[in-house]
Every structure is written in C-alpha cells, then in structure tokens.
Symmetry: C2
Subunit: 401 residues, 2 copies
C-alpha cells in the first residue's frame, strides 16, 4: 500500500510540470441542489486528463539505466498521452501500443509528443498483451495505467491540491475505472482529513469494480460497453480491489444516458468539455442517485478527451430529450400542395425545419400517400404540444421517431 508520504513526494516531482488545476465553485449546481458544489477541472490538465500525474511520477522515478532503455505503454487514450508527454519531458524513448482501430486524432496526439506508436490488436487486451511482450523483448519498462503504486501516488496529488484549495469538504465523488485515481485520492484524504466521505462512481456498462466491492472479491466483467471510455475497464485487479475496499465508503453506478446528460450540462451550463469518465460524478447528482443537500461536495472532472463526433451525438440526443428538437415521419397525400400545407404549419408556429426527406416508395404506404421524414427545432414541451395539435387538427398522421 502507498502512504501519504509517497503522494507528497510525487507532488514535489510534479511541481512546475503538471498543472495545479482550478477547483471552481459552481453557482448554478450549488443553487439547484442546495449544496456547495466544486469542480476540480482535470479536463484542463496538460494532455487533457489527470493521467499525466501518475505517468510523470512513475517516469520521474526510473533510474538512468531504465531511462536509457525507454518506456512502453498500452492505451488508446489518456494514459498514452500522459506517458508520451512525460517521456518527452525526460527526453527518453516511449513506445505506445494502441489497438488498430484507434482514431487518427488519438494516434497523432501521442505522436505529437514524440512517442513511437505501434498499432496492434483488435482491442485493448490484445494491445496490452503485446505491450508487455514488447517491453520484455526490448528490456524496456512497462508503465501500467493503474496497478502500480508509483502511478497511484501520482494520481493522489489531485487530492493534495483539492485539500489545499478548499476546507470543510463533506464528500468527494470519484470516477472508477481500474481504480488508480480513487486509490490515490483516498489514500491522501484518509491521511489528512478522514471524515470526508469518499464515493466511487462506475459506469453501468463497466461496473465490475462495484460488483466486486459489494461481494468483496474480484469479479471480472464479460464485456464492457459505455460512452465513458476512460473508465471502460473489464477486469478487477485484486490489489486495486483491496485499496477500494479499504478506503472507499460506497460505490454508485450511472447509466450512459445519465453520463451523456451530465456531459451536456457541463458543456452548456459550465462551458467546459468533459469526457464521459469525468462526468460520472455529476451524473449521480443530476439524476438524484445521491443526496448532497447542505453538503460541500467536490467532483473531480477527470478528463476532457472526448471525440467531437461523440459530442455531436450527445448534443443531438440531448436536444431531442429536452424538447428542443423533434423528429417525425408525417404521412401525407401525394398531391401538389400537401407539403406546402405541412411546412406552413411549421412556419406559422415558429418551428425551424432542420432536415426533410420525402418518400413515396415505401411499401408500408397506401397508393397516393407519401412519407415526409422531418426534423424541426422547437422551444420546449409546450411548443411541441402545440405543433402536435396543429398537425392533428389539419388531418396529418405522424409518428415521432
């Protein structure tokens, strides 16, 4: 087990390189939930996530021989960037094994720090196995993303910063993937302020740590599937479970749709980009999975590396869910003027048409009918009801999709 001294030493190593990220009070969340809610913005960290803390601490402690033979890591994400950045800082070789399907932006992100990238394997597990073998074959040091005490001590520096930035914290909600962040944070907090409640949050699609925590034995998932790719870890490492059982008060899980709404909230209301893993803590609050009333709560937003395509999808779904967009198929009589009557209803009721598609070939249609698939911008539930009424009173059949 690591100690508070390990974390304090890590902090000295990180000093002047890794950013001391802002801990920002959120007036809007605090008001809405009658609490004092603070956001620890690790999405603004160098490389876009807290992962650089552990990687930098680990690489700092390598001896000259180890530095000369370079480091190896397997990751398609934040750990890869943390290792690449830290290796480049010490001017040592880094080889990152990434799964073959890794998006180009992530590959070039890592390459931009001077690391060598090898694309290998159909998934993370294959890349991981190859990286272990590659490190052995080349006498290099493999940097584990979480199951390494020096890495964990680096992640724990997040908590030292938080405790310097704020007093009287009641609760902290920490994302759990492999368990590196929460082990580091908890070790620091238990040593310095043991009364703070530490709650771990997993994604429902990758909840092995929660199940293992409740059963008190490591149980791996058969598969993982979540938009929070930063915490999509399939297997529970016994050592990480020991840390978690020892230090964490409770583990909560949140669904992908709850995570998505938290990402959208942070984007719209807080003006920051946070990835799925970083948004799980807020998701528990937004969806009333925890009572924070009257409490001072800290949410470490662990990272901001979310693909913009995913962000677009989240916005799109969020707009539909919050009644700001409406998608429907309207069946109309296939004759001149029908479409105009329909579009006139939208115009009269101030609903902007985003996209439209006209089809009279569907076999589900009677002869002489046509289907219009249409997307409109609306101003909320009342506005949508008005449009539904108008469509009905004008004799249109429609189905919302």
């Amino acid at each position: 087990m690591i100690t508070i001294q390990d974390i304090q030493e890590a902090k000295k190593r990180l000093d002047g390189v890794v950013q001391n990220t802002p801990l920002a009070y959120s007036p809007i969340l605090s008001k809405q939930f009658e609490a004092n809610i603070y956001l620890k913005k690790e999405n603004l960290q160098l490389t876009g996530s807290f992962k650089i803390r552990g990687a930098f601490n680990k690489i700092s402690t390598l001896n000259e021989m180890e530095k000369a033979t370079g480091v190896v890591a397997a990751s398609a994400g934040n750990h890869a960037q943390g290792v690449a950045y830290s290796a480049s800082y010490y001017n040592i070789n880094a080889t990152i094994i990434m799964p073959e399907a890794t998006p180009l932006t992530k590959v070039s992100g890592v390459k931009s720090y001077g690391a060598e990238v090898i694309l290998y394997g159909a998934n993370y597990d294959e890349a991981y196995s190859y990286a272990m073998k590659y490190a052995k074959d080349n006498d290099s040091t493999f940097i584990h993303p979480f199951a390494d005490d020096t890495v964990i001590a680096g992640q724990g520096t997040v908590a030292l910063e938080i405790l310097e930035q704020l007093d009287n914290i009641d609760m902290i909600l920490v994302p759990i993937g492999g368990g590196g962040l929460i082990s580091g944070i908890s070790t620091a907090i238990r040593a310095l302020n043991p009364t703070i409640k530490i709650i771990g949050v997993v994604a429902s699609g990758a909840n092995a740590m929660k199940i293992s925590y409740n059963k008190k034995e490591p149980i791996d998932s058969i598969s993982v599937k979540t938009i929070a790719d930063g915490i999509a870890v399939r297997d529970v490492t016994p050592k990480m479970l020991d840390y978690t059982l020892d230090l964490v008060d409770e583990i909560i899980e949140v669904e992908d749709k709850e995570i998505a709404s938290a990402i959208l909230f942070l984007l719209e209301k807080q003006k920051i980009v946070v990835e799925g893993a970083g948004a799980v803590g807020l998701a528990t609050i937004l969806h009333n999975k925890i009572d924070v009333k009257g409490k001072t709560v800290v949410l470490p937003l662990s990272g901001g590396n979310i693909d913009v395509t995913m962000l677009s999808l989240i916005i799109e779904k969020g707009l539909v869910k919050s009644s700001r967009k409406m998608n429907m198929i309207v069946t109309l009589i296939d004759k001149p003027g029908s479409l105009m009557t329909l579009t006139d209803i939208f115009k009269q009721n101030d609903a902007n048409i985003v996209s439209i598609d006209y089809d009279r070939n569907s076999v589900q249609l009677d002869f002489g009918e046509a289907n219009v698939t249409i997307a409109i911008e609306t101003k909320g539930e009342a506005h949508q009801n008005l449009i539904r009424d108008r469509l009905k009173s004008n004799g249109f059949r429609f189905k919302e999709i």
Copy 2:
C-alpha cells in the same frame, strides 16, 4: 471619457460578486506559434460572459429611487443575462425586451434570474426601440449594452484582473462589437501599462467599426451576418468610435469560417466552450492574420454562450474540413450486390459509415443506375485518398459533397 479611477471603483463594486476569471497559459498554442499565449476565460464568468461586469457596475450605481422603479434592457444575449442577474442581486425589477425569435433557452435563462421578459419585434433594432419607449413610459432606467460610461468602466475591470495576473504583456487581442469591452480594457491598459499593443478584432460580417476606424468617421453597416452573434452590431456609435480611435492600435477582421475553426480548436484542444465573439482573437492567430512570434499575448475569451445546435454544426463542418469526415454521392448499378461491393470497400479500408441513403429515382440517373449518398468517418487526407483510389479502381463514379 472614463478614467482609470472609474474602473478601479467599478472593481470594488464587483468584488465578491463577479468572478475573477482564470488567466490560463496555453502550452499548445504557445508551442505552435512560438509565443506565450494566455487565455482570459470570461466564458467561465457568471452568466457565461463578461457582460455582467458592466451591467452590475451600472446597476450598483443607481440611486434608491432608480432602483425602486427598476431597469430595462434590450438584448437576446449576454447583456440580457448580465442585467437580469445584477438586478436580481439588488432585488430590483428587471424587464428584458427580446426579439420574438429568441430561442427558448435564452428566454428561460433570463427568466431564471427573476427578470420579466417581453418578446417584441422581428429583430434587435425593433426590440431596442421598444425597450427605450418602455423605459420612458414606466420611468425605468434603460441599461445600454455598451454606449454608457458606467457600463464601459465595468468591462474595464477585465483588464485590471489581467494586469494583476500577468506581467510583461506585449499584446492583447480584444473582440469588438459595440466597443464597450475594448474601450474599458484600453482605458485601463493605457493608464497602467501604455506599451501594451491593443488590437481590436471584428467579424467580417459585422465590420462597421473597422471601416469607421480606418475612415475616422462613423459608418453603419447595411446589414450584419456572422456566427459571432455577441459582436453582430450594425451601427457605430460616434462616442464608441472616439474611444476606439483614441485607444486602439489596429483593427483586424476575421471570416466566419475562421471563427468556427477557432471555436473548434478551443473545444478540442483547450476543452472549453467559447462563443463566436470570444473566439475572434484566437482566429486571427490561427489564420496568420497577425505575427505573435516571441510575444506575450493575452486573448480575452469574452463569453461562452453558444447554442449547442450551432456547436454541432461547427463540429460537423470542422470534421469535413480536417478530413475526418467525407460526404459523397456514389453512382452504382442498381442490381443485387452493388451496394455490398461498395460497403465492402469501406470496410476493407477501415472507414466507418455514418449515414447512407439509397435513391434510384433521380432524373439525372440513367435507367439501371442508383445514387448512394453516404457519409463516412475517415482518418485524414491520406486515408481519404486511399478510399478515392479504391472507389475508382473498382469502377465507381462518385462526387464529393
């Protein structure tokens, strides 16, 4: 004209209410442009923009009688929120006149601060005229969005914070709409550190201030059209032109597509949401409209209130432009297996299909042909060229759209 004392007094009034926003060094921009680039994050300000500074300062200085009769403003955007928030702080009545087409999110944003909203007029000018009349009829105080010295003094507090946060600044790039922000900032900088170069930035679609500055006389635009709605100001107020001529070194303009790429850069690389007006300064740097090499440069990111639908559009266009997405119409023989041959090419070359639409009814097609409109995710220019080659070598005709 206002003085540095006016701004210093404003700062005292704002203290403890308005946020002292972070001035963050950007490693990635600094490296890319061989400069020291700092971002003043007014997008993280209360109400999502710097506008609360001017509004709060103005409302703070009203006497008891004026407070009792309430305030009126015309705005669909950041000024509306600033006035509404400030009025609610002093527990006085605020009436905000918004154009009829104002999106519901903006209306409810203002209402959430307790302000009364009146939807009036087809555009800002009509809302503005009505607001003036409404204020007069109701003996209320009209709060101008920029042409008011007390408002300008409030905006100037941005510069006081920057000068406290950083020494040795060479240059500051300030968005210009009506001119309130740059007048306030320039007044403070000229008084405290006159060697800093002050550059104003307008959107090409709303460049009246730049034209007026160059001709040294106020020339209004006939119309304005830009995605930077926060600085889409049509007319040049003579008083604001005087400030600008007196204090600003140069004015640069940027196109909408340049602003969009700056918004996307901030989203992807800096993990923050910035609206068009707030991104114009960065747009000048990204698109080499100014040489910053070796300089210490401050970019006030004036606000973050951008509609998420617009954000989605910017992401979409940005993906196409950076070769991460490809939209095309492929013409194929309308027979069993044709579509499979096509989709197989994408599979073999690792291009993910985002959307697909099959049409054999277009009159531009020969009999026996069909058009497939398809969007695919790609990994850059080289990957796109590979796909183009494969399509050609397999005999497909296609047109990129």
